[in-house]
Symmetry: C2
Subunit: 383 residues, 2 copies
């Protein structure tokens, strides 16, 4: 299960020497057609990396034929020279493949504010173009890792067609769309509008509801390319389900590998007046450091949850709020509920439930705890 | 320098046994007049503690004659029994002093969601009422401490009059107004409207610009009581300056004693299109965990600052942003500026400057770094 599971795609991962560790750092995924429909979703951060600025343009016409991804540097806030590095990357891929540079998306991940070494970058891209293979998905997924401890891949098998995907991301992980990069492929024969609609629906319900550390990246990109090589056009609902399931699977892999995390926390907000209210409340809890520290300490400290809910504009009455940890309703009607001693937070998976009693909408936000290891990893990243 | 520095006030701090540590846990500050003008500012959290619900009513008429404060329990989300504990506290103070209960403000601080032990609470209040002294300010300041490592007091000396103050607060410290409690006193002869105006101006520019950990408390209260005992009515500007200076002094004491912090960070945003923009940008940086971890690691990671700025709606152009650590402009025009090796973050005080180049307004937000000790202290607080 990889980006080369669907027919019509080749990929590879190579080592260009951009990473001090000497691990693979250039991935290339190519759509060999016959069709080239594509859509992408990018970070909502207003400070965008050079590859995002480029790829926004490359994806505008609904056609992408290749994506080249480097780890070992985010190419963000690197000025004109940085943009030239992105442009040169696309041009080299295009020349090697005999296509137009404007059909080549570029992604970068790593440290912000450092210039990539152009010779190494371009030599690596040339190397990658020479090594493309129909079973190269695994190598591509490995080459995009930074602080990830494992590569992340997923697939959905339709009847005669499939969706494949790979992702990276472990920190700066609060997508609005986190130096989170995702490449999805499908051999379904679907047009660009369909690809775009399915991708936006899927990311809104999955990656956009991850909030590991509240920090929005400058480089986030989710790209879906459709080759049409299966010669099958699935019903929209099944196609959307397929894209959604692959996105959900990758999103859960991102949360479960978040930097330093010891708990994966699902915050389910129910009976909200609107889905927006449910999301606002879930995100407010997910971003509350005191709550996140409490979960690290295996402490069902529901007071910190109510304090976070109280900072939102959502419709609710503080006197009627209910809160549960793993199904134990420790807070009932804004007061002391079942005994906190009944709650066991020793497992990695934690479910927090908040009942707003203000309507019938619901939503889940996924986050992580705040740990010594998170602080350690992120206080030493660039030094 | 304490709340009993101004004439007309008595105070004390006693041990009621609410804290497992056996340290002082009840403070009482009494205004003996001749006048009783007062104003208060409370948490903007919609989930408010019982003492806040009570004190909002008690302060409404611009007159407060006493404030009783317990540490050892926030009395928040404790239902009807909790509100009755607050009410009984005010009534007992009133009975002991021969005043009306509605002129008695109540504050509580400690763990949320635990019931106070009423007998111990009321016995302690009776004990405090019997021990009031014109030099009792220091004892009161000690009795309101929770995780504070030191008591916090300040004063301003006018000509024939003064302002005194005490504060507590070390965590859940993002006032919009954090289990942050402040009591200010003055013997100036000023009416309630003047007290209210000066207090709101002062808190907006001081406590409201603290953002230690992004977590807004349920119990925050800042109360200013004026006794008129000096018989002096200062010009408004001087009175406002006095209140502002005492608030600033206490706010800096809060930041410098924040839980687990190793750095006190002033984030100055300049050349903003509006003060609101400057505050939004400053707060966004102050709440960025990756930035806060970087400062803990003494790493001038300006990329994380730009990533935080990019999440705001403030007016700015990413291509022209400048960022400095301690005066070293490591980011110029959204790109690489002076060498990060010139930055020394070994001292506790850190200044971050962000030049938005979008106007002429500015503002400073004060925050702390995110450390192992913060995670440790807040993962074990209630267990």
């Amino acid at each position: 299960m990889s980006v080369t599971t669907p027919q019509g795609f080749r990929a590879t991962g190579v080592t260009a020497g951009l990473k001090p560790s000497g691990k693979p750092d250039i991935a290339l995924v190519v759509n060999d057609g016959p069709s080239f429909a594509a859509a992408a979703v990018f970070t909502a951060n207003r400070c965008k990396a050079n590859p995002v600025l480029w790829s926004e343009q490359a994806c505008k016409d609904g056609q992408v034929r290749a994506v080249v991804i480097n780890s070992g540097g985010a190419n963000c806030y690197t000025g004109t020279e940085g943009f030239q590095n992105t442009h040169a990357s696309a041009e080299l891929v295009a020349a090697k493949l005999g296509i137009g540079a404007i059909d080549v998306a570029v992604c970068s991940t790593g440290l912000i504010g450092e210039q990539l070494q152009r010779e190494k970058l371009l030599a690596g891209i040339a190397d990658a173009a020479a090594q493309l293979a129909v079973d190269g998905g695994d190598d591509a997924a490995t080459a995009i890792m930074t602080t990830d401890t494992r590569s992340k891949q997923a697939m959905y098998a339709g009847t005669g067609w499939s969706v494949g995907g790979m992702a990276k991301g472990a920190g700066m992980l609060a997508p609005s769309l986190a130096t989170m990069l995702v490449v999805l492929t499908t051999d379904a024969d679907v047009d660009a509008a369909t690809v775009n609609r399915a991708l936006r629906e899927a990311t809104a319900a999955t990656f956009d509801r991850l909030d590991s550390d509240g920090c929005m990246s400058t480089n986030d990109t989710v790209l879906l390319m459709a080759s049409g090589a299966a010669g099958v056009t699935p019903a929209y609902d099944e196609f959307a389900t397929a894209v959604g399931e692959v996105c959900h699977d990758l999103a859960q892999q991102l949360i479960s590998d978040a930097e330093g995390a010891e708990h994966d926390i699902a915050i389910e907000v129910v009976n909200a007046a609107s889905e927006a209210d449910a999301l606002e409340v879930g995100r407010s809890i997910a971003r509350n450091n005191l709550f996140k520290c409490a979960v690290f300490g295996k402490d069902p400290n529901w007071g910190r949850i109510l304090a976070a809910v109280g900072t939102t504009d959502a419709a609710f009455d503080p006197a009627t709020l209910d809160v549960a940890f793993n199904g134990v309703w420790v807070c009932r009607d804004g007061g002391i509920g079942e005994s906190r001693d009944l709650v066991d937070l020793s497992a990695r998976q934690v479910k927090v439930s908040v009942d707003l009693k203000a309507g019938s909408e619901s939503a889940t936000i996924w986050t992580n705890d705040l740990t010594h290891a998170y602080v350690h990893e992120n206080s030493a990243y660039s030094t």
